[in-house]
């Protein structure tokens, strides 16, 4: 087996810097979930390879990388059409170190249903040379909130065993920053421009994770790449549960959100600190449970930052900072507060 195309990067300890994920037939066991950063760097290699052509500073590959650190063994990745798909497989190159399929825009969950069913059928007939093969889907907000919602809902209802990771960059970034069901209110996009009459998008973001909770699938969570340990733990849980799991991961886009390329992690942190994007998980047994930073904020409300902190670093919200638009910012704050309060009421681990 030769992988001549993998560069030999000098590594003294552990594994080479880049490798294909090879699970020979008969491979047994379970890859450990490593949470110590040093050990992680020495032992784990991402399922996404360098040389991909996503923009500098894009959060999507960080989410994929972190998620793949939590894979437990043989895994097939399904990708909806979108930035991630387009930029990681520009023929003749692929950035995927694991088996990967892109079918179309609106059907990632249906495609995953087929992959998962094939795995089951082959297992049943003794043709699957592994104890389990996991199926993980990556879809953007367009492919999840909008055009792909039907196929996602159908697959969730049918109970296929896969983890769907939504990387939500809050607009159709692949086609050039058009508004989606995931775009927040007042955000500028090319189809919700800030004009003399309209202040950007005029509708709020669709509560996609709550919609998935309403399906009462085994596991739903939110995550950001900034809260990387939280994200990895959630991915592992999502893979481990039997049946569909859904993770809504906020994925900043420096071009669409109009911020410096260095701020992908910073802006994700601010999204959580302002409670614009609270971190939680839900299972039918435990209900909503706040996690990581959001749990800390619930316990110590003083930590909660005003929405300006999230808005001020992003050009898409620039107009909200103008004095004449203070009322819009206030409206956004009220919306964030209301959603957060609602979540606090539902969260079983929030202080009463």
């Amino acid at each position: 087996m030769a992988q001549q195309t993998l560069p030999q990067v000098p590594i003294k300890k552990g594994e080479p810097a880049y490798k294909l994920w090879i699970f020979e037939p008969g491979w047994k066991g379970e890859l450990p979930l490593i949470l110590n950063p040093r050990q992680l760097a020495e032992q784990k290699r991402p399922a996404i390879l360098p040389g991909h052509r996503l923009c500098a500073g894009c959060a999507a590959p960080i989410i994929v990388k972190l998620a793949s650190f939590a894979f437990r063994g043989p895994t097939i990745v399904v990708n909806a059409t979108g930035c991630l798909e387009v930029a990681t497989t520009i023929f003749p190159y692929t950035s995927w170190a694991v088996p990967w399929i892109h079918n179309a825009f609106e059907n990632a969950a249906a495609t995953a249903s087929g992959v998962e069913s094939a795995i089951k059928a082959m297992k049943k007939t003794g043709r699957l040379p592994w104890a389990h093969v996991d199926v993980v889907v990556f879809g953007g907000d367009g492919g999840t909130f909008d055009i792909g919602l039907q196929s996602l809902s159908g697959a969730a209802e049918r109970g296929h065993d896969f983890l769907y990771i939504l990387y939500d960059n809050e607009a159709y970034m692949n086609t050039g920053i058009q508004r989606s069901g995931g775009t927040p209110k007042f955000a500028w996009t090319t189809t919700s421009p800030v004009g003399t009459v309209l202040p950007g998008k005029t509708q709020h973001k669709k509560p996609i994770a709550d919609i998935m909770v309403a399906h009462r699938i085994p596991y739903v969570a939110t995550a950001t790449p900034a809260h990387w340990l939280d994200l990895m733990k959630k991915v592992r849980k999502g893979i481990e549960v039997e049946g569909p799991a859904f993770i809504h991961a906020l994925s900043s886009c420096d071009r669409g959100w109009r911020h410096d390329t260095a701020l992908a992690i910073e802006v994700s942190r601010r999204a959580v600190d302002t409670c614009y994007f609270p971190l939680w998980e839900w299972t039918p047994e435990t209900g909503y449970r706040l996690t990581d930073r959001s749990l800390s904020i619930a316990r110590n409300p003083k930590m909660k930052q005003p929405i300006e902190k999230f808005v001020e670093v992003q050009g898409r919200f620039r107009h909200l900072l103008k004095p004449e638009n203070r009322h819009l910012l206030r409206e956004l704050q009220e919306w964030v507060d209301a959603v957060w309060e609602d979540l606090l009421n539902r969260a079983t681990n929030a202080p009463r």
Binding site: Q3, T5, L6, P7, V9, P10, I11, K12, K13, G14, A17, Y18, L20, P37, R38, L40, A41, E42, P46, I48, L49, P50, G51, H52, R53, L54, C55, A56, G57, C58, A59, A60, P61, I62, K65, L66, T88, T89, I90, F91, P92, Y93, T94, S95, P225, W228, D254, D260, T261, A262, L263, A264, I265, E266
Partner: protein, 92 residues
């Protein structure tokens, strides 16, 4: 890079035949991260957050694989001890 292959030499099903590690994105970079190992506390956050898998931990120190680093600056921004500087690419 050689001539693109003719159709008879391509695998069927349109599966890519090369890994993207053959495609060097390092020339997209305007600023390059430079790691000061004297300041580095080896927390690995740069390795964890690098979107281009361009940070390498060789067991002792942090290296940057400039073949792929696009110079986004996330590593420098996230470094808790400011051990990474973004410096202009030398123009040769």
């Amino acid at each position: 890079m050689s001539q693109p292959r003719g159709w008879k030499e391509l695998p069927i099903g349109a599966v890519p035949f090369r890994l993207s590690t053959d495609y060097k994105t390092g020339d997209w970079r305007a600023l390059r991260p430079v790691v000061d190992m004297n300041k580095c506390v080896k927390c690995m956050l740069c390795w964890i957050f690098c979107p281009d898998m361009a940070i390498i931990w060789d067991g002792e120190k942090i290296l940057v694989n400039y073949d792929y680093c696009k110079g986004c600056g996330i590593c420098a921004h996230e470094c808790p001890v400011k051990a990474i500087d973004m410096v202009p690419e030398p123009s040769e």
